[in-house]
Symmetry: C2
Subunit: 349 residues, 2 copies
């Protein structure tokens, strides 16, 4: 009988963060594609767009005028999925069916730059540091609101990721409950911490650095790697080396190192298919429920959909929705492709 | 303080099948859309396409020639994600990191009709009955293979759902492990059955029929409803009324009733936005591991991405990937919209 070769044979890999598996089919990465091609948004955007509701000085849908901001700019989402109003309610948590409960929250938009066409990889490191400081401030302010127990910082980049405006921006949804994925992660982080008295990600990163098979970038304080259990073709995770539970615990050197690695990662992404690389990214860190959370370890997920070119993406559909996530190219190969990309943006070559 | 109004206020709903929550933001359904628009594939396809690798008599990528089939036609996937070969391997299930194990399986394609342009809603009921008989045969044959413990029947319809060929077809991925979503579902079904000695879905459907707020179609043996916990805008579930654990337990009357309700549901879907409605669908039923599974209750999920027109879909991205699924329109409204659609296909009006 043939011996298992993880680089060739179909297999499943285990994700200890959410206690789920992914199906990996390395031999399938050469299958031809006759399906949908994405349209590549034009690279040639103006620095200022008079019709953009995020550019400085422009009027938004609700009639408010954006200030003439010069670095980042935060405002309340005009079409927020969450509302601040308190709602009276009694829960029946013993019911199996028809369980619903009101959810309070605040939803904000974070413009990364006044320039309509300046994405993360093209920004100077100082501008990215400024965004990180903004995230710190928002995490603190929102986390201090009495009914807010979780602050989700994220970015949808590119029209293929449902982003309706190319002006570089992210979002923050802060709410009273722990969202499903965060709660799953917390349960697994906590079980590990209770058993080992170390964070799961501290141990994982150490092992990954030893193996050096999935590391994309490393600096003094952060590592970018393709997780062993990644589901998206070029999925990565930025993890702090030190056991930091939240962004507000960063030292100023860590802020800089994080800014540098964010710039390098997004530059490599853009260089991979010479396109403004779409993704959804988001930070997972300690909830703001007032408890100590030694089990939490700062990390940022990047979920990019592109598979083999600027126009061909991976579809997580029938089997993936009914069964489990599936990937073709192995995480080790993806890490190698990303690693070998230049840190100089293709537009500046 | 305002009292909770499930039709107006942001809230979370609980999904007892997978023990997860969904965020519902009813007030947000009127937000404008300036983002990506899908292209609508042309309705005008020929009955036979000489370049289609699924049409009768044509040559496939691997050089095989399709027979001149007259109803449905099943073949082994030319670029299968799973392989039948047995692989030697010893698992270290106590490890937290780097857990991987080989996965054996068989992956097949099921052509629904020899006609390149004939989708489910446009087929006569007898042709759909024939597809159901094909599913029964495949479930039996694949389930009988000694190392196959789960048979996933599914369909990706439409290019927006990663379907690379408009010729009506579905797929079957059969494998040795229970995929993640199936295992989650089984755990919850089993816990309910052990406690109540009834299947979760039998009880749920009874309650839904009483409430009559989310029922889309009902006939003697099946119900189509928008689950209370649906995440996609027009997500539905076909559930058998009788406690049937697998498709091979259908009586012939049930086969007919299932065919009729499949035709009606897909017709209503097409009529909603007067377009060939994209979706991924899949059947969840008893594993084929040789055990009795009284907890399983036959159901078929439909996950359609469209939100408000043939070109505007819902994006499950940043918040949804990092936090939890989110929807705007309430399941009750979606059910009402679907219910009021005609059972006559818009092309035949
Ligand atoms: O097998 P197909 O139709 O080529 O591929 C499609 O369905 C598969 C199963 O859901 C997915 O893994 C692919 O990403 C999708 O493009
Ligand atoms: O808030 P936006 O950018 O308009 O909307 C985008 O991000 C949200 C949060 O991930 C999603 O719910 C929407 O489906 C998506 O289009």
């Amino acid at each position: 009988m043939k011996n298992f070769d993880i680089n060739e044979d179909p297999h499943r890999r285990y994700n200890p963060l959410i206690n789920e598996w992914v199906l990996v089919s390395p031999h399938r990465s050469k299958r031809p594609w006759q399906g949908q091609n994405e349209t590549v948004p034009s690279d040639a955007l103006p620095e200022y767009d008079p019709t953009c509701y995020l550019c400085p000085g422009n009027v938004r849908a609700n009639g408010m005028v954006n200030p003439d901001y010069e670095s980042s700019f935060v405002f309340e989402n005009d079409f927020a999925a969450l509302k601040q109003e308190e709602i009276a309610f009694e829960e029946n948590s013993s019911a199996t069916f028809f369980r619903a409960k009101p959810e309070r929250g605040i939803s904000r938009v974070v413009c990364f730059s006044p320039k309509h066409n300046l994405t993360l990889p093209e920004m100077p490191v100082e501008a990215i540091e400024n965004i990180i400081h903004t995230w710190q401030k928002e995490y603190t302010d929102l986390g201090n609101v009495d009914y807010i127990n979780h602050v989700q910082i994220f970015e949808n980049k590119g029209s293929v990721m449902g982003c309706s405006n190319p002006h570089p921006h992210g979002q923050i949804w802060a709410q009273s409950s722990l969202p499903t994925e965060v709660e799953k992660t917390q349960n697994n982080l906590k079980a590990y911490f209770d058993k080992h008295n170390k964070t799961l990600l501290e141990e994982y990163v150490k092992e990954e650095l030893k193996l050096d098979a999935r590391i994309v970038i490393e600096n003094d304080h952060f590592v970018v790697l393709v997780p062993f259990w990644a589901i998206w073709p070029y999925e990565t995770m930025i993890v702090s080396k030190r056991n930091i539970s939240k962004i507000t615990d960063f030292t100023e050197t860590e802020v800089t190192d994080f800014a540098v690695i964010l710039k390098q990662l997004t530059t490599k992404y853009d260089n991979l298919f010479e396109t403004s690389f779409p993704y959804s990214s988001g930070i997972h860190q300690s909830p703001t429920d007032g408890e100590l959370h030694p089990e939490w370890h700062f990390h940022m997920h990047f979920y990019p959909p592109l598979l083999r070119s600027a126009t061909v993406k991976k579809f997580m559909v029938g089997y993936e929705m009914m069964g489990e996530s599936q990937r073709d190219i192995t995480p080790e190969k993806s890490a190698a492709f990303l690693r070998e990309q230049s840190n100089v943006h293709y537009k500046n070559r």
